[in-house]
């Protein structure tokens, strides 16, 4: 019986296509990783294994620039992720635990609006907005723009998590005379935590990833890691860029792994 249903589910070639898909997704990344260890200033000729370009990243003439860009990127990503997660948590509570209200559909659309508007359009609109009100472009302008598009990314996992939690827990707590604040802090929040954490991580990565919007709203002398890398790449792909890319790859990999285990933890505790 199992065999029969297995056979019905099976399609010839699907396994091969899936493997091909992985190859397509990983080949460029792995090749860049390999070449980042190339002991040669020419990026295409292999001359042996070395860490020389990693050294260059940390000690070379551009090290200070990339260090500052990394600090900016992390600072913006942490602040944008914290803020958007808090906003998304509040919104998810109101949308899912609240009663139906007029404009609920519109509110839902509004929260997801940053996902629907193409990045380049958001970038233009934000630039025009900041320029017309004379807002000083700098780290703060980047942060504000990032908070906006991080909200839906934080909202989705939090809302999904909250939907999976039956509201009897709160009912019981309220019946036992817990204040709404206590109920949230002691009952609901711990249960929502896996969703909130993965929302935070999503927002964090999305903020770190952004190039187009940041490029439009950044001010004089302020770079994030993607804009700094873009500036460097425009002049040609140099091995130190590959080293930076590899470091970022490893960082993303670690983050996703953490997010993955957090969500697993959440599933098991359900």
């Amino acid at each position: 019986m199992v065999n029969a249903s297995e056979r019905i589910r099976w399609y010839p070639g699907f396994r091969e296509i899936a493997l091909l898909c992985l190859v397509i997704l990983y080949a460029p990344l792995i090749i860049v990783m390999i070449y980042s260890f190339n002991d040669s200033p020419s990026i295409t000729v292999w001359k042996g294994f070395s860490f020389v370009w990693y050294e260059e990243v940390f000690t070379g003439p551009e090290a200070e620039r990339f260090k500052q860009a990394t600090v900016n990127s992390l600072l913006i990503a942490v602040c944008a992720a914290i803020t958007s997660t808090a906003i998304a948590t509040a919104s998810a509570l109101a949308m899912i635990r609240g009663r139906r209200f007029r404009g609920q559909a519109i509110t839902f659309g509004l929260i997801n609006l940053p996902l629907m508007v193409p990045e380049i359009v958001t970038a233009v609109a934000t630039l025009i907005f900041f320029a017309s009100i004379g807002f000083d472009r700098g780290i703060l302008s980047i942060l504000l723009a990032h908070i906006v598009f991080c909200i839906p990314f934080a909202y989705l996992p939090i809302a999904a998590r909250l939907q999976g939690i039956a509201n009897v827990y709160e009912q019981v707590a309220r019946d036992l005379y817990a204040t709404p604040g206590q109920t949230f802090r002691l009952i609901l929040f711990p249960m929502m935590l896996p969703g909130i954490l993965s929302g935070f991580l999503l927002a964090f990565i999305i903020s770190l990833d952004d190039f187009i919007i940041t490029n439009f709203v950044k001010g004089a002398g302020v770079e994030t890691l993607p804009t700094a890398i873009f500036g460097a790449v425009k002049q040609g792909i140099k091995p130190n860029i590959m080293a930076i890319s590899t470091l970022m790859l490893v960082a993303s990999f670690l983050l996703v792994t953490v997010a993955y285990f957090i969500s697993r933890m959440g599933d098991q505790s359900k």
Binding site: P61, V78, D136, R137, I139, L140, G221
Partner: protein
């Protein structure tokens, strides 16, 4: 929630603190790959002023970005001759008195009373050079002293040509090739120019300014428009590249450091200009960027091979270089339209 508010408050403070961390900061807007980072560090070590640098890849992008970011964010920029005129007309330049600069007398005579800044009231000379193209002699061994290489290329070079992504220079260079004025209002001339470029584009691989050196040095293209100093750097990476001074004419330019209006730190900007006028500093920039300095007394600090480099020494029979001209706004709009049409 209160905890969160405290946290955000702390974050906001960190951020404003990070922005105001160093008391003295100079923000410059510079061409890419034009000044060694070591010199900026040296300036910081000498004066305690931190230098933050953003880069651009064409005079037009400089203007557009200054308008987008607004005045009062950068102290110094490095436009070429014609762009200085445009920026002055736009009210983007501040002026200074020659007495405000200790090294004002270091400006070379020929760059003191220039049409784009008589008596140097807003700018100090930086580097000057030419715009033409390079050919990989391994790919093509025929005559390269003609702009046909770019606009009507031989079979070997078709599809292997990079063009500078700079409206002003590329259109002026094409006008020289066709022997028409740079600011023409003549209907048939402009249509011919547009048609010529459209046809030539079929043979081009890319529009790239920041990558102009890399595409040539890596062999991605076999011919490409380039600035002479940038070309010298390309030749250092690939010896078979040769810079051409075409018979139809080529462009020359003189970049200057200009003091921007509403500069956030005018004093630091003037100090930096003084720094740039020191012969040793100007020579260090020349040695790095491979152009020619507009400052007196640089000779003793220059790399020896620069004196004889083919990029910096036009052959005796080469025509004189031409500066990019500033067109009237209505005329400029026509050239902008040609450029957009070309890049569609």
């Amino acid at each position: 929630m209160r905890k969160f508010a405290t946290l955000m408050g702390a974050a906001a403070m960190t951020m404003s603190f990070a922005q105001a961390a160093s008391a003295e900061k100079l923000t410059i807007y510079h061409w890419f790959e034009y000044i060694p980072q070591e010199l900026l560090n040296e300036f910081t070590a000498e004066t305690g002023i931190e230098v933050v640098m953003d880069t651009y890849d064409s005079n037009e992008a400089l203007l557009a970005n200054l308008k987008a970011t607004g005045m009062g964010s950068y102290d110094i920029a490095f436009p070429s001759d014609y762009m200085i005129n445009i920026m002055r007309d736009e009210g983007m330049l501040d002026t200074f008195k020659s007495s405000e600069l200790n090294n004002f007398d270091n400006i070379q005579e020929q760059w003191l009373n220039v049409s784009f800044d008589m008596g140097r009231q807003s700018s100090v000379p930086y580097q000057w050079g030419s715009t033409s193209f390079m050919v990989d002699r391994e790919a093509y061994s025929g005559d390269i002293r003609t702009s046909d290489i770019i606009f009507n290329p031989p079979e070997e070079l078709k599809g292997k040509i990079n063009v500078l992504d700079t409206a002003g220079e590329t259109l002026a260079f094409a006008s020289l090739y066709m022997g028409i004025p740079q600011c023409s209002n003549d209907r048939s001339q402009l249509k011919k120019l547009s048609a010529m470029l459209e046809g030539a584009k079929e043979n081009w691989a890319s529009f790239n300014s920041d990558g102009a050196k890399d595409v040539l040095a890596s062999g991605d293209v076999a011919a490409g428009m380039i600035w002479n100093g940038f070309g010298a750097k390309a030749r250092a990476e690939r010896a078979s590249l040769e810079y051409s001074y075409p018979k139809e004419g080529y462009l020359v330019w003189a970049d200057s450091a200009v003091l921007l209006k509403d500069a956030p730190n005018r004093d630091a900007a003037l100090k930096f200009m003084d720094f740039l006028l020191e012969p040793e500093v100007a020579a260090a920039i020349t040695n790095y960027a491979r152009y020619t300095a507009g400052v007196k007394g640089v000779e003793e600090f220059l790399d020896k091979e620069l004196v004889t480099s083919p990029e910096n020494n036009p052959p005796a029979d080469a025509p004189a270089g031409t500066f990019v001209e500033v067109c009237a706004p209505e005329t400029q709009a026509l050239y902008d339209a040609i450029w957009t049409q070309l890049k569609k």
